[in-house]
Symmetry: C3
Subunit: 341 residues, 3 copies
Amino acid sequence: MRLADIAARCGGEVLGDPDVLISQVATLRGARPGEVAFIAHPRYRAELAATRASAVILGEADRAATALPRIVCKDPYACFARVSALLNPAPAVAAGIDAAAVVSPAARVAPTASIGAACVVGAGAVVGEGASLGAGCVIGEDARIGPDSRLHARVTVYPHCVIGARSIVHSGAVIGADGFGFAPDGGRWLKIPQIGRVVVGDDVEIGANTTIDRGAIEDTVIEDGVKLDNQIQIGHNCRIGAHSAIAGCVGIAGSTTVGRHCMIGGAAMIGGHLAIADGVVLAGGSTVTKSIERPGTYVGVIPAEEARDWRHMVAALRGLERLTARVRELERRLRREEGGA
Amino acid sequence: MRLADIAARCGGEVLGDPDVLISQVATLRGARPGEVAFIAHPRYRAELAATRASAVILGEADRAATALPRIVCKDPYACFARVSALLNPAPAVAAGIDAAAVVSPAARVAPTASIGAACVVGAGAVVGEGASLGAGCVIGEDARIGPDSRLHARVTVYPHCVIGARSIVHSGAVIGADGFGFAPDGGRWLKIPQIGRVVVGDDVEIGANTTIDRGAIEDTVIEDGVKLDNQIQIGHNCRIGAHSAIAGCVGIAGSTTVGRHCMIGGAAMIGGHLAIADGVVLAGGSTVTKSIERPGTYVGVIPAEEARDWRHMVAALRGLERLTARVRELERRLRREEGGA
Amino acid sequence: MRLADIAARCGGEVLGDPDVLISQVATLRGARPGEVAFIAHPRYRAELAATRASAVILGEADRAATALPRIVCKDPYACFARVSALLNPAPAVAAGIDAAAVVSPAARVAPTASIGAACVVGAGAVVGEGASLGAGCVIGEDARIGPDSRLHARVTVYPHCVIGARSIVHSGAVIGADGFGFAPDGGRWLKIPQIGRVVVGDDVEIGANTTIDRGAIEDTVIEDGVKLDNQIQIGHNCRIGAHSAIAGCVGIAGSTTVGRHCMIGGAAMIGGHLAIADGVVLAGGSTVTKSIERPGTYVGVIPAEEARDWRHMVAALRGLERLTARVRELERRLRREEGGA
C-alpha cells in the first residue's frame, strides 16, 4: 500500500516520497524495507538514524528529524494504531456452525455468525450477526453475544449474561460465574443464590483468564469501551465505567463502582463497596480501601530494594512508634532546659 | 409463595399480612411488588421507607421500622439466604450422558448423573449420583466426583483427584495440576514428579479459574465446607481447614496449613511451609511470611494515597534510618547539656 | 527396584543392604516399607529415627545418622528428584488422534503424537513426534508444538505461537492472547493489532491458568528451561531468560526482560519496560518499579501483623513527615541552647 494512501485513510501529512510501498508496521530497530516504524516516545529518537524502515510515523516536533518518507501527525501512537489496524485486519472467520459444535435447536445463531468446533451453545442463547466463537466456547442458556463480537477459544459465558457489539473476549475468560456470596450460619456458610447477570457493553475487550462474576441480585455491569487485561477478577455487582482501562492481575471486590476514563495499573487491588471517581489513575500494585472521590493519581506501593536495605528499613519502621515517643520526650526535656536557661 | 409459607420453611416471625405472595428476592432499592427485600446492615435502613417490596426480612431491632409485611428474625442475612435458596433452586440438570461427551467405557457414571457436551471422562473415573458436569469438563483417569456435586463448564480435574459430595466448582478451575517442585542441579531444574492428589471435601465451593495443585508426595487437602472465590492459587501439600472462606486472587504457597473457620481477604498472599491458626481473619492484600499461632485479626496493607502525599511518605520512610540516628545524637547532646546545666 | 540399581542410575553411594527393594518415594513421616525417603533439610533430621522407610537418601553430613539402607550423595534433593522420576515415569500416551478431536487436514501431526478428545488443531499447525495434547486443547493456525512436549487438558495456543521440545503446559494456560495495547484517542481506546508471537523454548514448564501474551510487533520469548508456576501473567514483548523460575501469581508487565537463572517469588509484581539482571532473587510479594542491574536478593514486603499493632504503625508512618520536621526543630533549638550555654 502506498504511503500516501495510508495517510489518506489514517490521517497525517506525508513528507518525502508518497509512493513508497508499505506492507507492515515495525519497531524502528526491527524494521525491514517495506515496513513503517513510529516514534511515540522521545527515548526512541536515537534509533531513528539507524532504522531500515521505508517510512516513519512521527509527531510535529520530529518532522525534520529524518529524511525518510514519513507521516507527520499530532498523535503518532494513535496514528500508528490506525495504520496497523489497516495493514492487519482481523482474520475473517467463515460464517456457519462447525460440524463439531453442539448448538441447541432453541438457540438463535445469525446466518453470518461463526461457531467453532467443540463449542456448546445453550437453549435460548443468541449469537448476533458477524459474531464469532472460537473453538471450545460454552455459551449458557439465554446468554446473548452481540453482533461482530469475537470470542477466542475456550471462553465461558454463563446463562443469561450479555455481551454487546464489537467486543473481544480472550481465551479462558469466564463471564458470569457465581459471585462470592455466603451468609455465616452457626459456623457454616449458607450459599446465597447469585441471580443477577453480567452485562458487558459494546467495544469492550476482556483479557485471557479474566473472570467477571454475575450479580448477587442485580447485575454486574461493564460499560462501553472498557478494556480489561488478563487475569483480572471483578466481583459481583461491580460497575466499571465507560472507557476505563484496567491492566493485568487487578482484583476488584464486590459492589465497587469504578468511574469512567479511569486507568488502573496492574495488580492493583480495590476493596468492596467503594466508589472510584471518574478519571482516577491508580498506580500498579496499589491497594485501595476507601472510596476515591476526586480524579487524580493515586499510589500505594513501596518498591523493592536490596534485601539488607529493606530489612533495615522495616526494622526502623517497626521502631517508629518508639522513635515518636523518644522525640516527644526530647521535646519535653529541651523545653525544661530552655526554661531553666 | 405466601410469606407465611416462606417463614415456615426459613424461620422467623411474620408480622403484617401473612398471605402476601412473594416470587423473588430483591434489594430494597430495586424491589418490585411481589418481591421480598432484606436489611442486613443499618446503613440500608434509610431505603426502607421508599422500597416497593411487598415484604421485608429484618432483625429484631428493626421489627417496628416498617408497616410492610415482614419476617422478623435473629439473623436477617442468613434468613435471606434461605429464602433466596427456596425461591431460586439450582436449575435441574437432565440425567444422562450427552451424545457429544466422550466417556471412557472404563469410567463409572451414576445413572442420575449428568455429563454435558464436549466433556471427556477418563478410564476409572467415578461420577456419583446426581452429580453434573457442565459442557467441556475434563475428568482424568481414576478421579472421583462425589454425589450431587456440580462442575460448571470447562473444569479440569486431573487424574486420581477427589471431589466430595454437594461441592460446586466454577468454570475454568483446575484441580490437581502439578505442584511447582524442582530441584536445582547445576544451573538447571530437575522436575520432581508430583505424585500426591488433591482431595476436596463435601460442601466446598471453588471459584472460576482457581487452581489447586496436587501434592508432591502426599495430598493437598481442602476440608469440608471451605469456600474459595475466583483466581485463587493453592500450592502443593496445603491443607485448608473446614469452613474457612478465602476471597479472590489469594495465593497460598506450598505446604502451608490454614486452620478452620478462617477468613482470608482478597489478594492476600501467604508464604510456604507456614501454619495459620483456626479462626484467623486476614485483611485483604496482606502478606504473611511467618506462621500465625493465635486467632485474631491480622493486617498488612498500607492504603494508597494521592501520588504526592505517597511520594513524600516513601521519601520520609527511606530517610527513617537516618532520622533514628539523628534522634540518638540529639539524646546524647541533650544529656550532655543537661549534665552541664 | 533394588536400591543398588537405583543408585547406579541416579548417583550416590549405597550404605547398608544394597538389595532392599524400593517401589516408591515418600516423606520420612509418611513412608511405608518398600519406600525410600529423603532428608534435604536438617529440620527433618528428627523424623529419621521414627521413619518406616526401607531406605533413605541423605547428604554426606548425615551418612552415619541412620542404620537404614541409604544412598549418600552430595545433593540429596536433586538425587531424590532423579529417583522419583525413575520410579514415576510420565504415563505413556497412546499415539494417534482421538476420534473426537477436530484436526485440520492442513495440520501436520507426527505419527507418534497423541491428540486427545475434543482437541481442535488449526490449519498449518504442527505437532511434533511424541508430543501429546490432553483433552480439549485448542491449537491455532500455524502454531507449532515441539517434539515430546506435553500439553495437559484445555490449553490454548493461539495462531503462529511456538512451543519447543520437551516442554510441559498445564491445564487452562493461554499462550498468545493479544497483549494489552491501546492508544488513547479522544477519550476512547484504539486497539493496536498484536502481530508478534509467543516463542517458548525447550524444557519449559508452564503452570495452570498462566497467561503469556503475544508480542505487539516483535515476539514474546520464554527461553529454554524456564519454569513458570500457576496463574502467572506475562505481558507482551517480555523475555524471560533461560533457567529462571517464577512462582505462582506473579505479574510481569509488557516489554520487561528478566535475566537468566533468576528466582522470582510468588505474587511479585514487575513493572513494564524494565530489565532484571541475571541471577536476581526477588522475594515473594515484592513490587519492582525500576530495573535491577546487579544480581542479589531484593525484597519489598512488609509482613502482616495483628491489626492493632499494624494500625499504630501505619498511623506513625502517616505522621513520619511531621516527625522529621519535629526532629529538625529540636536540632535547631538544641544548637541554640548549646551555643548559649
